[in-house]
């Protein structure tokens, strides 16, 4: 059939194009970071005394640790909250409240990141500052990131929970399982793949989030010793310095971009592995 072949062709080229764009971005990042990767000692990214690009000191580790800590903190807070919200909507809320609550969460997902940053800067940072100065800190970054990824986790978890077949719920009820027994024993295992996928997506977003974090984290390049220390993440660093960076400095910023991308790719590979090694 001609139409069939045409359609297949269109779909194939669409898929190819998407894959190609992804590949091109990776090539571009590699190309731009090539001077730094070949011209500078790679070990320097780990061992240089600090991040002072003008003095050719390119230690990325403090920023990497800040990025990871902020993301891990946000995931730790957002995962239980998000899953609890989704469970509430699907199993506990009366239907009018459930739809209202769901609408609210969808709205939360639509708030631009700069608005979160703005709110963090004017409300959250002064609050933390009263308690533990200076306020702009890892904690502020964690909290703002939590708010940003919470709706994503809640919505994906909601979708996964709502997709659990009715038959399973019926069978669970017929076996005299309590509501909580049904949720813990049947529903969550059945929805695990969808919930995990949502968490991975959210983690990727947290790793790469730039603007809001930049506005509240304080942007001091250091290994944080407490939650109240100001930190600078890799993404914030790129945004802060891209405008004036030249030569090796510019190239090293691309290296940090590449690093972020590798982190996200590692996450998605991990998701694939988890899926493969699922117990059942």
């Amino acid at each position: 059939m001609l139409t069939d072949r045409v359609l297949t062709g269109i779909l194939r080229s669409g898929a190819l194009l998407s894959a190609l764009i992804m590949l091109l971005i990776l090539c571009f990042l590699l190309l731009e970071s090539w001077p730094a990767l070949t011209g500078l000692p790679v070990a320097g990214f780990l061992t240089d005394p600090s991040w002072h690009p003008l003095e050719s000191a390119y230690n990325l580790m403090p920023m990497l640790s800040a990025t990871l800590l902020a993301s891990i903190g946000a995931i730790t807070l957002a995962v239980p909250l998000g899953i609890a919200s989704a469970l509430f909507i699907v199993f506990f809320a009366p239907s009018h409240l459930a739809s209202l609550y769901k609408r609210l969460i969808e709205l939360l997902a639509g708030i631009p990141s700069v608005v979160f940053g703005f709110w963090g800067l004017t409300v959250l940072v002064p609050l933390i500052s009263e308690w533990q100065p200076p306020g702009a800190s890892l904690l502020a970054a964690v909290l703002v990131l939590t708010l940003m990824i919470l709706p994503m986790i809640a919505i994906t978890a909601y979708t996964a929970l709502a997709a659990v077949p009715d038959e399973l719920l019926q069978n669970a009820a017929a076996l005299g399982l309590s509501r909580w027994g049904t949720i813990a024993g049947v529903v969550l295992p059945a929805a695990r793949a969808g919930i995990t996928a949502g968490i991975i997506l959210a983690a990727a977003r947290a790793l790469g989030e730039t603007m809001a974090v930049l506005m509240v984290a304080g942007n001091v390049v250091q290994h944080p010793e407490s939650l109240f220390d100001p930190v600078r993440t890799l993404a914030a660093n790129i945004a802060l310095e891209m405008a004036y960076a030249m030569g090796d400095h510019r190239s090293v910023l691309f290296v940090s971009g590449l690093l972020l991308m590798l982190l996200v790719m590692a996450l998605s590979a991990m998701a694939g592995l988890l899926e493969k090694h699922r117990h059942v």
Binding site: Q170, N171, A174, L175, G176, V186, P189, V280
Partner: protein, 276 residues
């Protein structure tokens, strides 16, 4: 009368009905069931006898499944479903507010049309409801698991892969696992909603044989569209019919009577394939 001390005498008669008399375990009285105000089942009264297989037959939409779900209060899960009349299980009104639904459903197992094992391992499928009902000792759970899997004839097929996913089993095996899962709670009553209709003929035969083996140990109520099957396995049969979208019980009696010498002309027409 007899003074010889060695003479064999019978003790005094035990109170209670003689063992050959059918004993009603479930008594349904004037059960009327409606969804959103529309009557789905009108004024049904019948007795389900202990240890017997009772088949519910009749055309689609005549309220057989609704009747079945009312017995273990699965109808509670349907928001707009209302029930009038009484269902007594062992002389207890199950719609009374003191009735513990979870305990009731432990006593009354249910098997559905489409096998739906939980997306867990085979072992966990049986352990989960046991744990929920307070059986947590590993040894005990393992022993019950083996017993019920043997009861449904699945042990030989799965004993070396109990930790594999229950979803890796074939349709017939999944249905037998679901029956085993229900049996693990040691219920008195088993409700079966067309347990063979989603299975191929061979798997269906295996499940049918299994149901026959369970007769006597459990009180079984089975909905089936397969009249030949009802005739083969049931002791009692209840024939439902739908009139103006309302289900009614037309005739209830011994299976043989329903199929061979029904009182109602409608029953005769249905079981002979002339109607329905």
């Amino acid at each position: 009368m007899n003074d010889d001390p060695d003479a064999f005498t019978l003790g005094p008669l035990q109170a209670g009905p003689p063992c050959c008399e059918p004993q009603p375990l479930i008594q349904v009285r004037n059960l009327t069931l409606h969804y959103d105000g529309k009557t789905a089942l009108d004024n049904v009264s019948l007795d389900i006898y202990k240890g017997c297989i009772t088949a519910l037959i009749g055309p689609s939409g005549c309220g057989k499944t609704s009747f079945l779900s009312a017995i273990n209060r699965m109808t509670d899960l349907i928001p707009c479903c209302g029930i009038d009349g009484r269902i007594l299980v062992d002389n207890q009104d199950i719609h009374h507010r003191d009735c513990d639904v979870q305990a009731l459903r432990r006593r009354i197992g249910m098997v559905f049309q489409k096998p739906a094992p939980f997306p867990l391992s085979i072992r966990r499928n049986i352990a989960l409801p046991l744990n929920e009902h307070g059986v947590t000792q590993k040894k005990e759970v393992a022993a019950i698991t083996e017993t019920v899997l043997r009861d449904v004839g699945l042990w030989g097929e799965v004993c070396d892969r109990l930790d594999a996913s229950a979803l890796s089993l074939s349709g017939g095996q999944q249905q037998r696992l679901c029956i085993a899962r229900a049996l693990a709670l040691n219920p008195e009553i088993l409700l079966m909603d067309e347990p063979c209709s989603a299975l191929d003929p061979i798997a269906s035969g295996v499940v049918e044989d299994l149901i026959c083996r369970l007769q006597g140990r459990y009180t079984i109520v089975i909905v089936t569209h397969n009249l030949a099957q009802a005739r083969r396995i049931a002791n009692y049969a209840a024939f439902f019919w739908v009139r103006e979208r309302t289900g009614q019980l037309v005739e209830f009696g011994r299976c043989r009577h329903i199929f061979e010498s029904p009182r109602e002309a409608l029953t005769a027409a249905y079981v002979n394939g002339a109607r329905g």
